[in-house]
């Protein structure tokens, strides 16, 4: 039990340090660096040209499809891990179970493939 708690205390220590460090360094930078803003400096960078239009462009729907694919597969792996840990104790039945499970994943993959989800076009 102590080990369990201590481990997370360590993680917390890392977390706090991880937050404090950027704050400290950015504060330090602020003390050291010059600060002379002007309008030209603050324009959006577009390779030196004046910015055209807004940045809220309509980007490709593919990104969403990838996001969906990711959500599906990443969450399925949540089930893979407990299974993998317990695999040796559970034997053949677990294998069959996982063949079915992963088989379904594969079908999902093939489905997306056939529906041309992975075909990337433009941007």
């Amino acid at each position: 039990m102590e080990k369990y708690i201590n481990s997370y205390v360590i993680v917390t220590a890392f977390l706090i340090l991880g937050i404090l460090f950027p704050i400290a360094v950015l504060w330090l930078g602020k003390q050291l660096r010059p600060h002379k803003p002007n309008a030209a400096k603050e324009t959006t960078y577009e390779s030196g040209n004046d910015p055209v239009g807004d940045s809220q462009i309509r980007f490709n729907v593919r990104y969403y499809l990838y996001a969906l694919m990711f959500v599906v597969f990443d969450v399925e792996t949540v089930f893979l891990y407990p299974w993998a840990v317990a695999y040796k104790q559970m034997g053949l039945f677990a294998l069959v179970e996982m063949v079915i499970f992963a088989g379904l994943l594969c079908i999902g993959l093939v489905y997306a493939w056939r529906k041309k989800v992975f075909k990337w076009n433009s941007i």
């Binding site: 559970m90 039945f93 088989g103 379904l104 079908i107 093939v110 489905y111 056939r114």
Partner: protein
């Protein structure tokens, strides 16, 4: 959890309907992928139908098997799988049979009426019905909150997709989005309720919860109340009970008509199955343990919901011109009626009232599927989903109209139809239970609903329409409609054999009472 129990090969027989559906669904998914584009996807529809029927056959065999395996002491055997988290009992089997049958009807009637330009993903459209039914089946026969929830979501998520199947119609996707949001919120509520139930009883297994209820009622009654009322609100959304019904009309309107029928019958029935499983199990505990305050409160809340559903559904349907929205509201009212046997709860002469419920559910399934099939044909022909699309239909298709009249009479609860006896049985139970106010509401709303359903009849017989040519029917739809009509009439003329059969198969201490 004691030891980990897994499925064994011998269990597969008890799971054969579920397994059949899964395998067929997967095979069809693959088939849809490899089939060349030019091949009509109706093939998949036929295979879907075959899968549903095969599963139904397995369910019937299981019912017989369970009956045979009973002894004199224990009339019917209940098979507990995976440590009791999945139950094969006649409660589940009967409902499964209904789900499979209704879905088969819906698929069959829609063969040929669903058009490619309307539903571009026809292959998916058909085979996605299978996992949806599977979800409904899981809901109806699981003995564990987790399994229940997984079944619920399997059904819900596939339904979301089915609702959105009219890809080119923004109405369809709008409906689907609304369904996703309301469905998601409802799931969250149910789940939140379940989490409290788990918390105060320490298990997700229904039978363990039943054991734990007694203690929980003493130690954390407030949390139990919270749990039940959260679940009630969630289920009320799923069942489209007023005041949680607003989504139903939108979703029904936007969805492809066969899917609407599916939602109205299977999705609703499955939610009822879940409601029965959860509430009956726990309320009996409350009822028996001298502390029936809780069961009274819960049942009263449900009764109020049922009454509100009847009133709001009927009143809303009165003013509605769009047929699908109208049927959605009628479904709201019917959900109230279907809920009534449940809310009557337990009384000396009333054990579960499942018989009444199931009889009306059968009648409800047939009349709704039939009505939606007619609607599909009519709206396809006239391009009009409003009630005026039915104008003068008598002159165009007299026989179909007669069939529709029977279905409408059944919906209105007029004799001699299935709807009449269904309502009569429920009403009798209500009166016997001395819940007169509910009986009165049921009756009054039924009468008001005459105006709703007879407005169709008015259009069909008394008005003249703009089109004179005959109505274009498709063969499967015609057969489907007439099967529904005959079934409705058969339920009306011969209620006895069906009730007897239900009574014979179903035995509440074993099938419902999870302990």
């Amino acid at each position: 959890m004691d030891s980990l129990q897994t499925l064994t090969w011998s269990d597969t027989w008890y799971l054969s309907p579920e397994i059949t559906l899964s395998i067929v669904a997967i095979l069809l998914a693959v088939l849809d992928l490899v089939l060349p584009r030019r091949v009509s996807r109706n093939v998949i529809g036929w295979f879907t139908l075959a899968g549903l029927l095969a599963a139904a056959v397995f369910v019937i065999l299981l019912i017989m098997d369970l009956k045979d395996s009973g002894t004199t002491d224990v009339p019917q055997q209940v098979v507990n799988l995976v440590g009791g988290s999945y139950r094969i009992d006649d409660f589940g089997n009967l409902l499964k049979l209904l789900f499979l049958g209704s879905s088969a009807f819906i698929v069959f009637s829609s063969l040929g009426t669903v058009r490619d330009e309307d539903v571009p993903i026809k292959g998916e459209f058909y085979y996605l019905i299978l996992p949806a039914v599977l979800g409904a089946m899981v809901m109806s026969s699981s003995g564990d909150l987790i399994t229940l929830f997984v079944g619920l979501e399997l059904l819900s998520i596939t339904s979301y997709i089915l609702v959105a199947a009219r890809k080119r119609s923004s109405q369809s996707s709008e409906a689907a989005f609304k369904y996703v949001v309301t469905g998601g919120v409802a799931s969250a509520f149910i789940l939140y309720g379940m989490s409290f139930l788990y918390g105060v009883t320490g298990s997700t297994l229904l039978s363990d919860i039943y054991q734990g209820m007694e203690n929980a009622m003493l130690t954390s009654e407030a949390l139990l109340y919270v749990s039940f009322f959260l679940m009630i609100s969630g289920f009320a959304v799923k069942l489209a009970l007023a005041p949680f019904h607003a989504w139903a009309s939108d979703v029904y309107q936007g969805a492809p008509t066969p899917v609407t029928a599916f939602l109205a019958v299977v999705a609703k029935g499955a939610a009822f199955a879940m409601l029965y499983r959860i509430f009956f199990t726990f309320m009996t505990q409350s009822y028996f343990s001298q502390n029936n305050v809780m069961s009274n409160d819960v049942f009263l809340a449900l009764a109020v919901l049922a009454a509100a559903a009847m009133i709001v559904g009927t009143a809303g349907a009165l003013r509605q011109r769009n047929v699908k929205r109208l049927l959605a509201l009628s479904g709201v009212a019917n959900a109230g009626i279907l809920l009534t046997p449940l809310v009557l709860g337990l009384a000396p002469l009333h054990t579960s009232l499942f018989n009444e419920f199931f009889y009306y559910l059968i009648a409800y399934a047939f009349m709704n599927i039939g009505a939606f099939a007619v609607l599909t044909i009519v709206s396809r022909d006239t391009g009009n989903e409003t009630i005026s699309g039915f104008a003068g239909l008598y002159h165009r298709a007299p026989w179909t109209v007669v069939g529709m009249t029977v279905l409408l009479c059944s919906l209105a609860g007029l004799p001699v139809t299935g709807g009449f006896f269904g309502k009569l049985f429920i009403l009798f139970a209500t009166v016997q239970n001395k819940t007169y106010w509910l009986a009165a509401i049921l009756l009054v709303t039924t009468v008001v609903s005459y105006a709703v359903y007879f407005s169709f009849i008015r259009q069909m017989y008394l008005r003249s329409g703009e089109i004179d040519s005959g109505l274009r029917m498709t063969v499967p739809a015609t057969i489907g409609i007439w099967l529904c009509v005959s079934a409705t009439l058969a339920l009306g003329f011969f209620p006895k054999p069906i009730m007897e059969w239900i009574d014979q198969v179903f035995s509440w201490p074993y099938d419902m009472f999870v302990s």
